[in-house]
Subunit: 197 residues, 2 copies
């Protein structure tokens, strides 16, 4: 979910402790896939069902100012590319690791949304028997699917043949994620069905 | 590990993809507990033994500049307090979660090094059957100990009686971590003995 900010626009972060550069304060539910997932994770945490957090955005800090009697101010820093997926945590003793992406595309998921380092990380997690997947939301229908990392990696490795995953394939090889009220995106129900129960 | 930077000093980050404000480029091994753990984690990753990363330092971004034809520059940002521990990942299917602290104190570990939100996070992880602990290094002897989260929480909850954990208690209730060449801090060997094998 790469959101481009217009030049000079003041950056606004949301109230989540794990807000990142993609967490704009939309002031409403259902606006950002990321904030919807954050809300679900908060629900899971409060209900003591799981401990899953979004990792902070990695920042390369170049210059910090230390004014007397006030907090350190970062005066120059740059966004760095993350070397892992965005979300991880623990659920019923299992390690959970996933990336979440939303697409405006109506018929397929472009693989350019996924970066090499994320796929490498997923391969490593799978080797350690972690539960690893991609959550995809189609913006037009608001449908959410869980695609197991092994399936994603297979499509990723065949990019020379096809640069996207057809929605039909996602519906076949992936799993529909229930979206409701609390939590908004109940992906752990799908995790239960697929990996745990 | 709160490192205070002198006013106006130029910030230097190390080459780790998960460097944070506490990762000063020391240019040598054994200088920073954090960089030693990062090095051990890189070793585990390359040997396909575990996937454990330090989380990026959470930053509150206030102002970003978008120069034409170059990368976005963060012009004003602040360090935020993390709401979790610093390290997590997966090892043999198990969720691993820990905090690492070094102390100059020779006879005890001051509990002021541990924050309420970290203890809260540890309680949550323990409830989800995650493997959760504190790594402590005594700076003078370079000894490293693993203290299970449940033990740490117990000491933390009795701070009114005692504001630190005696080294003797750490040696009794904690577990010595082997330090060697590769990896430098072999905490997963201790994890194996305690939680897995």
């Amino acid at each position: 979910m790469s959101i481009q900010y217009p030049n000079g626009k003041r950056y606004r972060s949301n109230s989540s402790p794990h807000s990142s550069k993609t967490s704009i304060a939309y002031g409403g539910r259902g606006m950002s896939f990321e904030s919807d997932i954050d809300e679900s994770n908060t629900f899971y945490l409060l209900k003591e069902q799981a401990v899953i957090h979004k990792k902070p955005t990695p920042i390369q800090i170049v210059n910090v100012d230390y004014p007397k009697r006030s907090a350190a101010v970062i005066k120059e820093a740059y966004f760095k590319q993350a070397s892992t997926t965005d979300y991880n945590g623990v659920y019923k003793g299992h390690y959970i690791d996933f990336e979440a992406k939303e697409t405006k595309n109506k018929t397929s998921f472009p693989l350019q949304n996924i970066h090499q380092h994320q796929v490498d990380h997923m391969r490593n997690v799978v080797k350690q028997n972690g539960i690893c997947f991609l959550l995809i939301r189609f913006q037009d229908t608001k449908e959410v699917f869980l695609l197991d990392a092994a399936v994603l990696i297979s499509f990723y490795d065949h990019q020379k043949e096809r640069k996207s995953i057809k929605k039909a394939d996602i519906m076949t090889y992936g799993h529909h994620v229930h979206t409701g009220y609390q939590p908004f995106i109940d992906y752990l129900r799908t995790v239960d069905e697929l990996y745990i129960n």
